[in-house]
Amino acid sequence: MACDLPDSVQLAASACLTPLGDTTATLAALLRGERALQARPVLGREGGDRVPLALLPGRELDETAPPAWMDAVRTLLGAAPPAPWGDARHPVFVTSSNFGVGSLYAYRRGGDAAHLAYGAPFICVDWLRRELGWGDNVTIFSHACVSAHLGLMQAARLIRAGLAERALVFSFDFLSPFVAGGFHALKILNADWPAPYAVRATGSIGLGDGAAFAVLARDGGGLAIAAQSLHNEMFHFTANRPDGGGFAACLAPLVAAVGGSRLWIKGHGTGTLEAGRLEATAFARIFPRAPLVGWKGSLGHTLGSCGLVELALVAAALRAGRAPGTIGSTTPMMTDNVALEPFATAGYDAVLCASNAFGGAHAALLLRHV
């Protein structure tokens, strides 16, 4: 259900962490067209095919106990506005696809029981909560690569209903042999670099570490979440309806909210062929004048965190006045609306941010200047 929010909910703060650095550094690198992905063995120290993976600097793919990414998370969240996060009026929403599930593979492989302290979603999140000093009011959404959008939607509903003063949405997914091995088994993580929305013989994705936060509030930040929409096709676990109906169904409720706004679109754009074609075609048909960009050709797919990582980058691009183009792709493109080069955001009023996931799950939100 799309909610065109008459009572504005604002993106009061946001930031992300990627292998290219913090929000500012990542945006600058994307504007320069840099690629974070590197060819690495899919199973870490156990080897395997070399595939495009983007890891935080100095971090190995293999899990450690405690997870080596915690210091980076602590640094990221240190930039969040101070508040009694996790109390009744300041709820926290943690969204991810994998949480610490890679730790189970590490345990199964090596037998070190220390890994079990991170191996189930709420066990991992409760450890995070204690490490970060949050209260108990922490809700976990787990819907693969649209997870972050669910956290943003529930946070917005609480703010709009006056049930929370501010809400913190935190999203993270860090790669592991478990995760990389799974996507490699599906054959979409292969030796090729991802080229979102580009016409080519075989599709491929990259995977990346990512974490981000967003603080939603009644005011502050200068950017409003003007509308949100979800749609779950339930057509196939890993394929979309071939007529693109799922993409269109998610976008349809947003058309009225977009109105005559001059729009640009941050798409999902993993690098798979069929989903990329359906997504780009749906955008081109419904919002024909809106340039479409995707950044997973550089960052890789950061899975459950991608919606929030890319939202933080969109917000930073709006503030900086320049949006990165679709990195990793070259012509010919699937549709004419794909922007390959960076562009100035001054000529636009709003941004549509979209994510997709297993099961034909679609999510989108409309961000505009207040």
Binding site: M1, D136, H143, L150, G181, F237, A249
Partner: protein, 217 residues
């Protein structure tokens, strides 16, 4: 106060039933051929939700702390030749997706949650803030094997599904309401299942800041 009316309820407590027995018991509710690939949790939750006839205009809220842990265990053991089928069905929220994909039943708003001692309350808060007139709240667990012994899977299997509406209608089975409170306490998913399965009334805190009142007609 936020309230919804219970129009239908399904619960399933299979005890220590093994997945093969669950499959045989519930296979009549699913398309032939689909059952073979379904997880135990998918069968249990799927049967419960399926009887409530979900539509695209319903919000579906799904709660499971651990998800498809038997499939996950199988996927872990499939390395280094990882199984694509086990990977797909081990991803949360596969339990509901298995039945809805089998029925080709799209839904617009689908909120899958995980969680610990407050999971039932958190799922209900999502349900009671939903924008649709009808909300299906479902959830459950499957009994893990070695993962349960390690504390990263459920020691018991169960499933439930509730159909909630904003309007009381005729023949409502009960009513639940959430109100804000300063009282502390939580309601875990297994405890919530027991309340529903026994049709017990409930009044008390279910998550930080919120208390639940459940009354049966």
């Amino acid at each position: 106060m936020f309230e919804r009316h219970i129009q239908a309820i399904r619960t399933d407590d299979p005890g220590r039933e093994e997945p093969m027995a669950t499959r045989e018991r519930l296979q009549g509710g699913f398309a032939p051929g689909a059952v073979r690939r379904m997880t135990q949790l998918g069968l249990l939750v799927g049967a419960a939700v399926g009887e409530l006839a979900p539509t695209e205009d319903d919000t579906v809220v799904y709660a499971s702390a651990f998800g498809e842990t038997r499939t996950l265990a199988g996927f872990l053991d499939s390395f280094p030749a990882a199984s694509p089928t086990l990977f797909q069905t081990s991803v949360h929220p596969s339990g509901v997706q298995q039945v809805l994909i089998g029925r080709q039943r799209s839904v617009r708003d689908f909120f899958p949650l995980s969680g610990g001692p407050y999971l039932a309350g958190q799922a209900l808060l999502v349900a009671l803030l939903a924008a649709t007139p009808r909300v299906l709240v479902c959830g459950g667990e499957e009994r893990g094997t070695w993962m349960a012994e390690c504390g990263v899977a459920s020691p018991r299997a169960f499933a439930f599904a509730l159909a909630l509406t904003t309007a009381p209608g005729e023949g409502a089975l009960g009513r639940l309401a959430l109100t804000q409170t300063s009282e502390r306490g939580g309601l875990s998913l297994p405890d919530w299942f027991d309340v529903l399965h026994r049709r017990q009334s409930f009044a008390g805190p279910v998550m930080p800041g919120w208390q639940l009142k459940l009354e049966w007609s």
